[in-house]
Amino acid sequence: MIDVAALGVRFGETEAVKDVSFQVARGESFGLVGESGSGKSTVLRVMSGLHGDWTGRITIEGEVTAPRRSKDFHRRVQMVFQDPYGSLHPRQTVDRLLSEPLLVHRMDNIERRIMRSLNEVSLPALVRFRYPHQLSGGQRQRVAIARALMAEPDVLLLDEPTSALDVSVQAEVLNLLSDLQQARGLTYVLVSHNLAVVAHLCDRIGVMQGGELVELLSSDDLRAGRTKHLHTAALRELSIELEEPEANP
């Protein structure tokens, strides 16, 4: 469904993304992991159309993406950002935030759709007329997810969706994302530096380092330590070392 081939991005002299290729099947979750500056978020931004200057070929559901994309593309592919404090308009109520994509894409039944989507992300109905600053971080991220789902997309691009949240809220949001995927048959591309989060949500994982995709593997292989590239092994070791409380001497 998604086919990224030989993607390259340059920022002036620096090559931020070098020859990155991967495929994602419909209904699958694909994860991209790497350190800051490895180019993982840039890949996602190119896919969403936020960054226009790139080389290579990206096909999403048979449609080759051009620099100028159709309105329907922006309906079918939606993005959720890391920081729920920064990605919601501070002076719009939740009601306004959620109705905006419906107005843009001329969809009907606004009232019913808003109520359904609030229910879907387990937010109480009274949140509807609140402003983002009146909500907690977890609630805001739920609003951001609800907003992304308003236009009934097929693909959700998730850029570190839980790293600004408390661990207890992170668990709730990750469970919500799994439920939504099952209920709606969504395709996810998730970017995170947290290996455990990516392995939890995704079946296949791409590891990025210095702009290159150094390894593609399944999350089961990652858990079992069947890694080929040194960088993957290093990331895995660190993640395992830090998550085991009993490892403390």
Binding site: S36, V167, S168, Q170, A171, E243
Partner: protein, 276 residues
């Protein structure tokens, strides 16, 4: 005893009367590494900041005891507090982007901190800044000293912050979510650096975070806070035997690489946790 807190209570005025943000908190700290863990709003930062009396002026703080190295922080005057803040106790905040002065070079900021607390000439201070940058394991300290904060990565910026805090040779370091803005690899490097410096210089450390396994990895003792109270305090090595359901919940809700879970456990909050 470096820090002693008995029955600390921090209240904020609200339209519906006073609201307790921290209640009945007692802690002691020697030359050791203490982790304070809890969610946003659990009162972990307020507790740590009360040691330096860095709370907003409208906060109402009461305690049976609140001392730093025998000095009664609640009754001390501003001059006494100034001698503690920065000099004897340093504070490292979450995001170096907002804590560094954007129009001063990293070296100048560290040199300024060094001169304020120690005196000495401009030349000496510059040299001290480069030494401190080398101590926080920056490979080319002279170059980084000339760089402005926007030219530094997040991890590098946090090292500069740590170097600045180390300048006056403090006895206590309070690190408030020092690595939440950093990726996993850099996070581990920074925490190892803090741990190493604290052990080598014989300082006390209070590390505040919401990531329980991570804190346990770098601290000797962990205090778990929930809704302004300490619900459990235990040795980091005993974490696996934690008894309070909230502590267990914090451990169980994390996704792990070592074993696969279909769904993550969600903390079921029990109103009885609020009874002290």
């Amino acid at each position: 005893m470096l820090v002693e807190i008995q029955n600390l209570r921090i209240q904020f005025p609200t339209p519906n009367g006073l609201s307790d943000a921290v209640r009945n908190v007692s802690l002691t700290l020697r030359q050791e590494k203490l982790g304070i863990v809890g969610e946003s709003g659990s009162g972990k930062s307020l507790t740590a900041r009360s040691i330096l009396r860095l709370l907003p002026s409208y906060a109402i703080t009461t305690a049976d005891t609140l001392t730093f190295d025998g000095i009664d922080v609640l009754r001390a005057n501003e001059a006494t507090l100034r001698a503690i803040r920065g000099t004897r106790a340093g504070l490292i905040l979450q995001d170096p982007k907002y804590s560094l002065n954007p129009v001063m070079t990293a070296g100048a900021q560290i040199a300024e901190a060094w001169r304020v607390h120690r005196g000495g000439s401009r030349k000496q201070a510059e040299q001290a800044a480069i030494d401190l940058l080398a101590q926080v394991r920056i490979r080319d300290p002279a170059r980084v000293a000339r760089a402005y904060p926007h030219e530094l990565s997040g991890g590098m910026g946090q090292r500069v912050m740590i170097a600045m805090m180390l300048a006056p040779d403090p006895e206590l370091l309070i690190a408030d979510e020092p690595t939440s803005a950093l990726d996993a690899t850099v996070q581990a490097e920074i925490l190892r650096l803090i741990e190493d410096l604290v052990s080598r210089r014989g300082m006390g450390l209070i590390l505040i975070s919401h990531d329980l396994p991570l804190v346990a990895h770098f601290c000797d003792r962990v205090a778990v806070m929930y809704a302004g109270r300490i619900v459990e305090e235990l040795a980091a090595s005993e974490l696996i035997r934690a008894r309070h359901p909230y502590t267990r919940g914090l451990l169980d809700c994390l996704p792990t690489l070592s074993h696969k879970q279909a769904r993550l456990a969600v903390i079921q909050r029990d109103p009885s946790w609020l009874e002290t």
